[in-house]
């Protein structure tokens, strides 16, 4: 799972990781991927929920070198 743009949202509380995701989505091409590295536990639910609401594709989660989960989204539109 390659990531075109990774957002460092470590230590940001909800809903900030999702706000960052929405702000930076258009910085990747349609079909490109954007990762949200977040320590906030709500991000695991809210990133996929945001994808369903905004018709983007949630690809799943991987783990960054420091153990923090990175939630990966493909820009669909």
């Amino acid at each position: 799972m390659s990531i075109d743009l990774e957002l460092d949202c470590r230590d940001l509380m909800c809903p900030m990781p999702v706000i960052e995701l929405a702000r930076h989505l258009e910085e990747v091409e349609v079909g490109g991927t954007i990762g949200v590295a977040a320590t906030d536990v709500a991000a695991r639910v809210d990133v996929p929920a945001w994808c369903r609401m905004r018709a983007q594709e949630y690809l799943g989660e991987r783990v960054a070198d420091d153990g923090v989960p990175v939630f990966v989204v493909r820009r669909s539109s």
Binding site: M13, C14, P15, R23, V41, A49, M53
Partner: protein, 379 residues
């Protein structure tokens, strides 16, 4: 003491948080106050005041039994809904011949989840995006070896979705516990359970009174130390005034529910459609098959804690399942299991006398609050 002279439920603007606690029903108030003077004695004693307390306790039990369409000897009064959940569920586990595994939905109230963590081995079953538990999954999991009991709520306390209690068949000898705290009094009890729990302050009775129901013939064994009181399923000195107040409120709620439920249902429909018109909003829970008084929704990019404070400033008391509004800083287990948005969440639960004007006032201020909170974060 601070000034507590405001009339019930009217001292702090419009409280739309009755799923947490409903103001005392007027029918309960008089009964409760009279009982405080009349029913103070030990109901086990043979003297006059003891006999009076016993008579009044039996009367409370009979009224609750009639209101819930169960037998009086199936009714026990506990110190809270949580205690009724603990005793009801763990008593079935203790009485089981099979083992201590408890199959339960992931969206049970914390009282159920804590009871299982303490006295059983949890087997979680998920739910769909409406918050409905698939009873096929529940039954399948119940067939595994070592399952002592299954727990499924009558209706979800956070999103209002009604579950299919009474509409599925468990394997022989695997009993069902149903947490009916969210619906008791408001909706008829479904059939199909061996033990059930309710909480008086959620139907307009006093706090500190729970109702534990154990079906006649159910294999239920007291999971906690026994006591030498009137009712062997519970322990401690009986709260006779509380039981009487709870019974009076329950009887009133049951007799009024056709009218109240229809009114609340229509008001919730009004809220659901108005909220859905606000951009980037999720209204969650079943739109039709739900508790009459509860509606839950989430606003994208909004912080739940700020939303609760802003609504409070405008005179509305509501609850939130968002992590930032919780003591645990964890998002609601219900919203998480439903895989819906957890931030910017609000649960509105209507009072029995909520009016269209109050609801419209809420709907008039909400879009502006949401827009300004979004603007603060540049969205």
């Amino acid at each position: 003491m601070t000034n507590a002279s405001a009339p019930p439920g009217q001292g702090h603007g419009t409280e739309f948080d009755t799923a947490s606690s409903e103001p005392l029903h007027p029918a309960a108030r008089e009964t409760l106050l009279a009982a405080l003077d009349q029913a103070y004695a030990d109901p086990r004693r043979l003297h006059r005041s003891g006999r009076t307390a016993r008579l009044l306790l039996d009367n409370a039990r009979a009224v609750v039994a009639e209101s819930l369409d169960v037998r009086p000897d199936e009714v026990s009064f506990t110190g809270s809904g949580t205690e009724a959940v603990h005793r009801g569920l763990l008593g079935l586990v203790r009485g089981s011949r099979h083992g201590s595994r408890v199959v339960h939905s992931a969206i049970e109230h914390a009282a159920v989840r804590h009871a299982v963590a303490w006295g059983g081995d949890a087997v979680d079953v998920g739910c769909d995006e409406q918050g409905r538990v698939d009873d096929g999954d529940l039954v399948e999991a119940a067939h595994a070896p070592g399952v002592g009991a299954v727990a499924l709520q009558t209706a979800n306390h956070e999103v209002g979705t009604i579950q299919s209690v009474g509409q599925f068949e468990l394997p022989d000898d695997v009993p069902l516990f149903t947490d009916a705290c969210a619906s008791m009094g408001r909706l008829p009890l479904p059939p199909g359970w061996a033990a059930a729990a309710g909480s008086a302050h959620k139907w307009g009775g006093p706090a500190g009174v729970g109702v534990l129901l154990v079906r006649k013939g159910a294999r239920w064994r007291n999971p906690f130390p026994g006591d030498d009181r009137i009712d062997e399923r519970v322990a401690g000195f009986e709260n006779v005034p509380g039981a009487l107040g709870a019974a009076a409120a329950l009887q009133a709620v049951v007799s009024e529910r056709d009218v109240v439920n229809a009114r609340q249902h229509a008001l919730v429909d009004r809220i659901r459609s108005a909220i859905a018109a606000i951009p980037d909003t999720q209204v969650v829970g079943d739109p039709v098959d739900r508790l009459p008084h509860v509606v839950t929704f989430s606003f994208l990019y909004v912080d739940g804690e700020s939303l609760v404070h802003e609504l409070d400033r405008h005179g509305f008391g509501v609850a939130s399942g968002s992590a930032c509004a919780a003591s645990t800083l964890e998002p609601s287990a219900v919203l998480t299991a439903m895989r819906v948005l957890t931030h910017g969440n609000v649960r509105v639960s209507l009072t029995r006398d909520a009016t269209e004007a109050e609801v419209d006032r809420l709907l008039a201020v909400l879009p502006g609050i949401v827009a300004s909170l979004r603007a603060e974060v540049g969205m």
